[in-house]
Structures are given as structure tokens and as C-alpha cells.
Amino acid sequence: MSKLIADKVNVYYGQSHVIKDVSLEVPANSVTAFIGPSGCGKSTFLRLFNRMNDYIDGFKMTGSILIGGSDIYDPKVKIEELRKKVGMVFQKPNPFPKSIYENVVYGLKIQGIKDKKILDEAVERSLIQVALWDEVKDDLKKSAYALSGGQQQRLCIARTLAVGPDVLLMDEPTSALDPISTSKLEMLIQDLKKNFTIIIVTHNMQQAGRISDQTAFFYLGELVEINQTRALFTNPQSERTQNYITGRFG
């Protein structure tokens, strides 16, 4: 399982210095929450781990990001291989306009896997992992769009899991969901961390408190404080952290 290490990372979009000298470690098989006000850089920092920022004009990074000991910004790294290992889930569920089955196997098929037995097993395994199998197993040909928002989000996670990642990046995965779906997804995240390393960006302080082992507070591109979640929420070391989590600003 992979530990993630960021060492003296700076990110620039053109002249704009958006991430300032951030170093942190994400332990394997844990959930780390990134919190902070809008525009603080937490989503930008999240996207460093699967090199999604590479597509942004003017993006430049200094420092290093290691996953399992390997520098993912090494020129020899194949981005497609990286993204098999580092999956991402977005705020708005984004299933493809295909069946439930085709959504889950999509990543495997584009890798060239055609064996139906392998694909069927991957579908069952992934849907069980996200606690969706019992709800959809009798109609895998149903359109993904026919699922509820919470089910669609779990399907997107299943799709990510099917290709066998070690790391899951989640950018506000429950902010578009109702409270019950949110609760189910949070339970899923707690379950998934046994086998995956998870980073979640969230605006919901209580969610960070409920599900994360470690919380990192970002502000204006800086990492202000990172600590075990219980310590950060009961006795933050920085006054800025205290003011943010108590709602005095942000």
C-alpha cells in the first residue's frame, strides 16, 4: 500500500503562485481531509497526485510528489499508468451515458481486457466494494442515468476501483448528495480505507471530523496546519486554524 509524500511543493499558474512550499505525508490506508476556504489551493493540491493540473495552461510545479517511494513527476512516468493507481472521484457524479455494467468495465476495456469472465468478476467485485451490487445486480444493463445521485456516485467509485488503484482522490464527493446518500458514502469511505489510501477535499467540517484520520488546513496556498483530526478539532495549534474551524472566517 502506498504512502504519499509531498516535499516542498510549489505550484504556479503562469505568474500566480498558488501553492506555497507545502510538505506533507499521507499515511497508507488512511483518510486525510483537506479543508480550507474556497480558493485556498486544496483542490489544486489534490490534483497534483494524479497530475490533472498538467492540462492547465501555465502550470508549473517545483518540489516532489512521491507515491510508494516513486516520484510521479519523473519524466519517465506514464500518466495512464499513474491514473490506474490513483483514481479520482468528483463532486458531481459523472457516470458515462452507458449501462451500469459498461461504466464499471470502461477502464478495463480501454486497457485491452476483453475476457468476459474477467470483466464480469471485476464488475461484481467493484460493485460489492461500493455496496451497490445488491441494488443493481439484477439489471446491470440498466442505464447509469436511471440511478439516484447517491447510487451514481457509488457507481463512479466502482468504476475507479475496477482498474485496481491504491489511492483514491475525492473532491467534495458528497456535496451534491442528500444526507442519507452522504451518510452511506461516508460509511463506504471508512470501509475503503482498509485497502486504499484516501484523500478527500471537503467544505464540511463535520464530515472531516467524522471520517478522516488526519486533517490538513490550507489557506491562501499555504499548509497552515496538519494533524490527527481529533487533535486539530479539539486543540488546533494555529489561531488561523481555530478561527476557520469555529466559523470565525472563511
Binding site: M205, T234, N235
Partner: protein, 219 residues
């Protein structure tokens, strides 16, 4: 102010009002004991209802804050501390009440000698002062004042031990007055407990301000 700040401010005011009420109860109870004033004792007995109601109201307010505002960090420590301080103040209120009950029921025996020799009124004064001073520590968020409470409580404990020794010896010499002696002993033991409650409150104030847990530790 955010809504959370408004609620916390309101909660603090309620607790300070309860503090003042309990402090007043202790003062009246002490005066009632000093002069065996049954009328004053009756006032304390009636006042106990207000103390009990205040405790219930504050508990309920704390519960609402937890449920609705999810306090964290210093806000969480504040609400936790006030919840415990509330309980301690109510217990001090009970002490004032039970001394007043003693005065109301007193049967014509002259307790002046026993009260004087055991320094009960000095203990009462110190226990009452501790309550006021620990309130100052809270209002000014001054942990130094809170720390001083620990030493002073030790002083109160010492007075208590001396008083107990006197009563034991007195009972040996005057066994026919054992009931009256036990009543006086009961009073100063309660005062010693009042001092302990002020110490607990001081610990909670330090927990709130400095996030340090001093319970069960050497201070």
C-alpha cells in the same frame, strides 16, 4: 458575531448569573448560621428552587449548542467546561441549602462555642470567597487566579482537619453532646466539599483556556 458566538455569549451570561445566585446563597447561609437567623435561612431554602431551575436551563442550553452548532476547539472546550461548572455550582447551592436547613431546624442548643472552636465561619468565608474568585478567573480568563484556588483549597482542607480533630476530642469529653457535634461536623465537611467544587471549577477554566487536563494530577 456569528450565531455560534451569540449562543456561547448567552450561555456564559447564564452561567455567570447562576454563579452570582449561588454565591449569594452561600453568603446568606453563612449569615444565617452566624446569627441562627431562621428567617434568612428560609430565604435560602426558597432560593434553592431558582438554583435548580438555572441548572436545568443551562444543561438544556449546552445540549442545544452541541446538537445545533457542533462546536469544536475552544468553543467545544468552553461548552464542556460550562456543563461541568454548572454541575459544581449546583452542588455548592445544595451545600448552602443544607446549612440553611440546619439553621431552620435548630432546636435551641447554643452552637456558638462549637462553631467558634472549629472555625466554621472562617471556613465558610473562605469557601464563599473561593467561589467569587474562581468566577473572576472565568470572567477575566485568568488562569493564574484559577491556579491560586488549588493552594487555597488546601488551606481549607487543613482547617477542616483541625476542626475534625477538635470535634473528636470534644465528643470524647462531652459524649452527651455527640448529636450536636455531628451536626457541626457535617457542616464543615460540606464546606470542605464546597472548596473542592471550586477547585474542580478552576480545573475546568484551565482546561477551557489552555486545553490542559489537570484532573487527578498533582497541582
Amino acid at each position: 458575531m456569528t450565531q455560534t458566538e451569540v449562543e456561547l455569549h448567552q450561555l456564559k451570561l447564564e452561567v455567570v448569573n447562576m454563579w452570582k445566585l449561588v454565591s449569594e446563597q452561600m453568603k446568606k447561609s453563612m449569615t444565617a448560621l452566624a446569627t441562627m437567623d431562621k428567617k434568612l435561612a428560609e430565604e435560602v431554602l426558597l432560593g434553592e428552587k431558582r438554583v435548580n431551575q438555572a441548572e436545568i436551563d443551562i444543561d438544556s442550553h449546552c445540549e442545544n449548542i452541541f446538537a445545533l452548532f457542533n462546536p469544536v476547539a475552544n468553543d467545544l472546550r468552553l461548552v464542556l467546561s460550562l456543563l461541568k461548572i454548572n454541575g459544581s455550582l449546583e452542588r455548592i447551592g445544595d451545600i448552602a441549602f443544607s446549612v440553611a436547613k440546619f439553621v431552620r431546624k435548630s432546636d435551641g442548643y447554643n452552637y456558638d462555642y462549637l462553631i467558634a472552636q472549629t472555625h466554621t465561619l472562617e471556613m465558610f468565608e473562605e469557601a464563599s470567597d473561593l467561589i467569587i474568585d474562581v468566577m473572576k478567573a472565568f470572567e477575566t480568563e485568568n488562569t493564574q487566579i484559577a491556579q491560586d484556588i488549588f493552594k487555597r483549597d488546601k488551606g481549607l482542607n487543613q482547617l477542616n482537619r483541625s476542626a475534625r480533630e477538635f470535634i473528636i476530642n470534644y465528643i470524647k469529653q462531652h459524649p452527651q453532646e455527640v448529636e450536636e457535634c455531628l451536626r457541626v461536623l457535617s457542616i464543615f465537611r460540606k464546606l470542605e466539599r464546597a472548596g473542592d467544587q471550586s477547585k474542580v471549577i478552576a480545573e475546568e477554566i484551565i482546561f477551557y483556556i489552555e486545553a490542559k487536563v489537570l484532573k487527578h494530577s498533582k497541582k
